[in-house]
Symmetry: C2
Subunit: 316 residues, 2 copies
Amino acid sequence: MYTKELINNFKEIFTKDNIQIIAHRSPDGDTLGSCFALCEALRLYGKNAEVVCSDDVTPKLTILTEGKTELSSTFKPNCIVTVDVATADLLGKKYSETASKVDYAIDHHYTHKNYAKKVMLDGDCSSAGEFLFNLFEQAEIQINSKSAQLLYAAIASDTGCFKFSNTTHETHIVASKLLRYGIETEDLLKVLLDEASIDYIKFECDVINNMKVYDGKIVLLPVTKAMMEKNNIAEGETDGLSYLLRRIQGAKVGATLRESDEKIRISLRSFGDTNVAEIAAKFDGGGHVKAAGCSFKGDIESAEKALLEEIRKTLI
Amino acid sequence: MYTKELINNFKEIFTKDNIQIIAHRSPDGDTLGSCFALCEALRLYGKNAEVVCSDDVTPKLTILTEGKTELSSTFKPNCIVTVDVATADLLGKKYSETASKVDYAIDHHYTHKNYAKKVMLDGDCSSAGEFLFNLFEQAEIQINSKSAQLLYAAIASDTGCFKFSNTTHETHIVASKLLRYGIETEDLLKVLLDEASIDYIKFECDVINNMKVYDGKIVLLPVTKAMMEKNNIAEGETDGLSYLLRRIQGAKVGATLRESDEKIRISLRSFGDTNVAEIAAKFDGGGHVKAAGCSFKGDIESAEKALLEEIRKTLI
């Protein structure tokens, strides 16, 4: 159970009106599902509320945003809430100057850096979706099945559908309670987690056919601009490629290297005890033990060579 | 809560010794995880018990079978139990004559056709794993974390990791209780559900590059022997291909067509309202509304043509 203060802070939002809810930049299923679940709940309480985001929503995630790709302001807010936004920087370009005006931040990242007037944080939750459900329940705020479905989508997005180690016994309890709203999940999860365009699936095949395996346990996936152009893939669509690394039997450390403007964007994954944040730090990047990122100035071949050298030094 | 009779039947198994537990042929994660969970529980009660199966275990599923590929008898049983075996036919060649000797059948298929002396059945359970957990709990049989992990694997296997519509609020409650045993699940689920050999991943790419899309919503994946040989893929390894169909945006009906000895094996999937069992029936096959199978005598091109014609007739 959360403290009375935390629950009262949450209840306070429902006493306001003209509420703007901000999702983090490069929005994912957790931030969008949670923001829209909160928005729906506020509307159910007769409030004027809307979700905004600095960046566009990728096509598959529009299933969570009432079909909208662009989420921008239509009214002047009296109350600003962020959901799943761990730092002011993650508000994105459009809302970078909003940081000091944020009234409430609702987040589940232990790494949360305070920027809001009031913060509600539970780092033990798998996702913002799980935390938000707990808040609704403990504040006795009624939600409808639309909100429940959005929260389920949020949780499924951040846990890889209950597959990652952030899934706890409490995550499953929340999922169970959400299913009791009689929500449809199979088609929704298919769209969110499995489906891809034929162009994208063929692009993945090109990436696989270009895969480099070293010492049987280091896998590099170089992605050139030419590969993306050939298959009509936009930059934002390549984020799911790291999941491919997870599929490769025997891979201990994997990385995608993507040609971007004037630099190579590198995303690292560890499937063992190697700390990939250490590797990313060598290239002025950062992240977590199992997932980290950095960038490299130079061509993709040089990036591969430099990265391989650092991985070999660090690999456990 | 189950009836006293059902629970007493289950408890009876724990009064026997030299217990043989039979998994269904072409064993999957649910039958193997459940059988080994029961075996472990019986051993914890000091019983001599082992799991057998007519067919070999595929490499990735050996994570559930203590590394064993072949599961055969090492002792003469005094008690025979089947888990997840819906019909006598599914005992497979090696155990086809055992049907009349089966003492207890534990199953979750509504379609269960009675062959055992005593049947325990709950068709509302997502998986044999979920049902078995309920039995352990209600019969107050203590299990250890090894059994708990095997049951979690069984449930995750049959529900596509809580993704398919057989996942209920009760499935999540069971999953939550199993996680309280402190079991590791992330690495296990990676092996079971995501990982594939590089050969297999490249084989999938060949299959995708050979994909046929008709009317924007019918997808056929023809798989020739040459494609399998080129990538060192054995017949039993191609079962996961149907999952590829699920990934293709816009597909309403999909099918894999696989060259086998003297026939083409067809596996159908529906992602809408079309009943693919009806289509399979045209080729003397059968199955469920959303997943069905049949075979075709002739070459793969003729099979594609005949199948496409029937799909077009039935497609909703």
